[in-house]
């Protein structure tokens, strides 16, 4: 009797989400798959055109530029961000005085709204009056034109992304604090160096969190949008900062090619799915689940 009631209550309590899951997740996902095979502008109803969108994408030069930009950005910013986040977390995990202050300082940049962040960096990287180039000049380096030189716009964005590693750093820090100190002390007694301790104890112990952050990082960096959209309207100069999500947005809302945009969306979805599975598979060999 009680059991049956519990089942009904459980279903009723979950109802808002069951509706949300269907209305704002399953339905859009399926419709977007359908639209990707349609010619669909905001003004007309979708018309089935088979795989035309996909074959057009395949021959679309702009599409490939965006793919290249996005992959390049992800391939540099992701590993760099991970190394820096882990490094910072390890520095903070050494029982130094003032840890909470440092933690706050490193974390704050990742709280700032993207648009404000973009404004701030537009000013810091400004070609004429930018303070970064002034600082570089002071140590005898001639700073590049971060915002208008095709070969320096992506490094500028990567630099900014490193500034926002605070979120990942906090997650690493929390898991570092869970590494049992008895293990590390035992190692010390056996005469292990600090590198050996890091390599054989600390990193394996936090490996599930590294894997988690890596997967989230892949998903996030392939969708990079707000900052380049605000800082480099239209991906200027010479489309060097035109990223996948920007072209997708433009296709849908500037050129009103909803079907084309949906095809791009599904390709992105499948790529993320595939990369996530690969990341999980590859790193599972190295991921160590402790006691839990």
């Amino acid at each position: 009797m009680k059991r049956r009631n519990e089942g009904r209550a459980g279903f009723l309590f979950a109802l808002p989400w069951l509706f949300g899951l269907v209305a704002f997740m399953f339905y859009p996902l399926l419709m977007s798959l359908y639209y990707s095979f349609c010619d669909y502008s905001a003004l007309r109803s979708p018309v089935w055109i088979g795989t035309d969108n996909y074959s057009e994408l395949f021959h679309d030069e702009v599409f490939w530029t965006c793919v290249k930009n996005t992959v390049l950005y992800a391939c540099v910013s992701l590993p760099l961000g991970m190394v820096i986040a882990i490094g910072l977390a390890m520095l903070l995990n050494t029982n130094v005085k003032g840890m909470t202050i440092y933690r706050t300082i490193f974390f704050i940049p990742s709280l700032v709204p993207m648009v404000s962040l973009a404004m701030l960096w537009l000013w810091i990287l400004n070609g004429d009056y930018g303070v970064l180039n002034t600082a570089l000049g002071a140590i005898g380096v001639k700073g590049p034109n971060w915002l208008s030189d095709v070969s320096w716009t992506k490094p500028a964005l990567i630099l900014m992304s490193v500034w926002g590693v605070g979120n990942a750093m906090l997650i690493y820090l929390a898991s570092l604090q869970d590494v049992p100190s008895s293990l590390l002390e035992a190692c010390e007694l056996d005469g292990a160096s600090s590198w050996q301790k890091t390599r054989h104890i600390t990193l394996p112990m936090i490996s599930p969190v590294i894997q988690f952050n890596m997967v989230m990082g892949i998903i996030g960096s392939l969708q990079v949008f707000a900052i380049p959209f605000v800082m480099f309207p239209g991906g200027t100069p010479a489309r060097s900062t035109y990223f996948y999500a920007m072209y997708l947005y433009d296709s849908a809302f500037s050129y009103s090619r909803m079907g084309y945009a949906s095809a791009m969306g599904w390709i992105l979805f499948l790529v993320i799915l595939l990369l996530t599975l690969i990341a999980l598979k590859l790193s599972n060999k190295h991921v160590h689940y402790g006691g839990a």
């Binding site: 009680k2 009631n5 519990e6 209550a9 459980g10 309590f13 979950a14 808002p16 989400w17 949300g20 899951l21 704002f24 997740m25 859009p28 996902l29 419709m31 669909y40 905001a42 910072l88 520095l91 050494t94 130094v96 440092y102 933690r103 300082i105 490193f106 704050i108 940049p109 709280l111 700032v112 709204p113 993207m114 648009v115 973009a118 404004m119 701030l120 000013w123 810091i124 400004n126 004429d128 009056y129 303070v131 002034t134 500034w163 997650i171 929390a174 898991s175 969190v209 949008f225 959209f229 605000v230 309207p233 999500a245 997708l248 849908a252 909803m258 945009a261 949906s262 969306g265 992105l268």
Partner: protein, 282 residues
């Protein structure tokens, strides 16, 4: 022993240097915001303004109030706060109810659906963009705030996950005792679980506030008329209009957008750290 001392010194040195690098952009932001316009464009840069122009903040907020290109910053702030309130209430109410079901009630298919829920966190937003837009267009909601807050009332995977983790830690004996006393599930949820999980609810409220305050893509897609813009959207609009000429005013406006986020963070640091740390736990 000496080696240990050297290590500590080196760690401190590294942390102080890195802190300076991380904090510098903010200092430069504030520094520029209180400069007279003539001193923003000097080379070499003026580090300490000859005169602190706190009036810049006022001017940024009322930029061009006498001109055609007037940017109603205060209205944007009001819009953003209103939207954030709707989203935060909806997120807390809906997700706590749903998380109760996933954490404390047994029903057919629960674990499967929870697994699917977690998996949906991986679905990139761009793939949903067009169909979601179409749904709201059919409802005739484009140009209103509804597409931005109504979905929040139907739960979100991340908040469900977070609350479920907390709800599971409350001893089940409490629920059992309440059942014996004749309490129904709603009563247990309302008078036992919710009061005990206030910190967790605070974390979820905090995250959804931040998410709304910082959101750019959502308002960009759904808000059409200038007077309905949120701060993020307004700031971008401001920039493209002011054309980057008045850097001191732009930086003053930027500081104003950032300020509430920092204030909230300083008051709720503990909840923040807790909430973010738990996301890394499998």
């Amino acid at each position: 022993m000496n080696k240990k001392k050297l290590n500590t010194t080196l760690t401190h040195f590294a942390l102080v240097t890195l802190s300076c690098v991380f904090i510098f952009p903010f200092l430069w932001l504030l520094d520029t915001a209180v400069k007279p316009i003539s001193e923003t464009m000097k080379q070499p840069p003026v580090w300490i303004p000859s005169k602190f122009e706190f009036g810049n903040f006022w001017e940024a907020v009322n930029y061009g109030s006498d001109k055609v290109g007037y940017i109603p910053f205060l209205i944007y702030a009001q819009n953003t706060v209103m939207l954030a309130i709707l989203v935060v209430i909806g997120t807390v109410v809906s997700n706590s109810i749903v998380a109760y079901s996933f954490a404390r009630l047994r029903w057919w298919g629960r674990d499967l659906i929870f697994g699917i829920t977690l998996a949906t966190m991986m679905v990139p937003f761009p793939v949903m963009m067009v169909p979601t837009f179409t749904i709201f267009k059919h409802l005739d909601w484009i140009g209103t705030y509804r597409p931005l807050w109504v979905p929040a009332w139907f739960g979100s995977a991340f908040s469900i996950f977070l609350l479920r983790q907390f709800f599971k830690t409350i001893p089940f004996e409490l629920s059992e005792a309440a059942t014996i006393d004749g309490a129904g599930e709603w009563k247990i949820f309302q008078s036992i679980i919710l009061p005990l999980c206030k910190p967790a609810l605070a974390v979820v409220a905090l995250f959804s506030f931040m998410g709304t305050w910082n959101d750019f893509l959502g308002p960009l897609i759904y808000l059409l008329r200038q007077e309905t813009f949120t701060l993020s959207l307004g700031l971008e609009f401001y920039h493209s209009k002011a054309g980057g000429t008045q850097w001191n005013l732009l930086m003053a406006a930027t500081s104003i957008v950032i300020l509430p986020v920092l204030v909230v963070f300083f008051f709720c640091q503990k909840q923040f750290i807790k909430g973010i740390s738990i996301t890394g736990i499998k």
